[in-house]
């Protein structure tokens, strides 16, 4: 993992962004109006994002859906006002602000999905390879050996790496839902997943079955 630095990006303090920041500061004559306008925008973003992630919301609709959108917009607004000084003008102000709404929706949807249907024990332990990778009678010997090596290598992961890889990569458990289940966070879970993938790729390569990267295949 590396630290991403935005050195290559020019600052984009456009006039609209400057006005947003100014007017959102406490004491500005248009503060209340700016807060209300921003909240209305955040609510639209939250409604749109909740709709986009509706498949994770089960039967949530009507007032419960509206309440989730309101909560996301409210919480995003609080974060934005508290962190105005963090806005560096690397994007439009609205894009920066919408990010908070998207993150709030992301977090709330994951929490809702986890409460509604936490990952089953089978989803955390079943090492069945996805259908697209299951050995078939017509497969070449080499490919069958590659998949067998992969199955064996999964067993050599640490308990946490195996749990994370099996849940996310093999059983499509959303990463944020798994993080809640394990009392962790997305970044830490992703690190487990990254390490597991790297170890499995290495195991395949050492066994003489390297996985070509997509770009190499395309080339």
């Amino acid at each position: 993992m590396i630290n991403e630095r935005p050195a290559a990006t020019t600052e984009r303090h456009d006039e609209d962004s400057r006005q947003w920041v100014e007017q959102l500061r406490a004491g500005h004559p248009r503060h209340d109006e700016a807060v209300a306008r921003l909240h209305a925008l955040l609510l639209r973003v939250a409604v749109h994002e909740l709709s986009r992630r509706r498949s994770q919301l089960g039967s949530v609709a009507g007032p419960e859906f509206e309440d989730l959108a309101q909560q996301a917009a409210d919480d995003a607004l609080l974060s934005i006002v508290r962190r105005l000084d963090d806005f560096r003008g690397l994007s439009r102000f609205t894009t920066w602000a919408y990010k908070f709404a998207v993150f709030e929706v992301s977090s709330k949807v994951a929490r809702h999905a986890w409460r509604r249907q936490p990952p089953s024990a089978e989803e955390l332990t079943s090492e069945r390879l996805p259908d697209g990778l299951s050995p078939r009678p017509g497969d070449r010997l080499e490919q069958r050996e590659q998949l067998k090596t992969l199955s064996d290598a999964i067993g050599s992961l640490t308990a946490r790496q195996r749990e994370v890889f099996v849940a996310i990569a093999l059983n499509d458990v959303p990463i944020d839902v798994l993080a809640l289940q394990l009392g962790s966070n997305r970044n830490a879970i992703y690190k487990n997943l990254f390490d597991a993938r790297r170890k499995l790729r290495g195991s395949l390569a050492r066994a003489g079955h390297p996985v070509l990267e997509e770009d190499a295949i395309a080339g």
Binding site: H39, S91, L170
Partner: protein, 98 residues
């Protein structure tokens, strides 16, 4: 056969230079605005570009922000905001709840 190889590559994707979730979160707005401007966001933030191919959570957030900034970005300078979705939610009071 190549379909399976793509699938396996995707399943085991772990590329050097991955910026990780935390670094990507900080600049996701800049990344998205570059994309919307038709500029090369991946060249400006290569570690985030790598990460977005590998992390399903950050990719979902990116896709959501890209859509939101595309659909609602130009509303940010309107002083007379028309908000049909908020209206349909029955929210006449635009003030947030604290």
């Amino acid at each position: 056969m190549s379909h399976d190889l793509h699938h396996l590559d995707d399943l085991l994707r772990a590329t050097d230079g991955d910026a990780g979730c935390t670094a990507g979160e900080g600049i996701l707005d800049a990344y998205v605005d570059l994309e919307l401007a038709g500029e090369d966001a991946a060249a400006a933030f290569p570690g985030t570009a790598i990460h977005l191919r590998s992390c399903p959570g950050c990719r979902a957030d990116h896709d959501g922000l890209l859509e939101a900034a595309h659909l609602f970005g130009d509303l940010g300078h309107s002083s007379d905001l028309v908000d049909p979705e908020a209206r349909s939610l029955g929210k006449n009071d635009r003030r947030p709840r604290h």
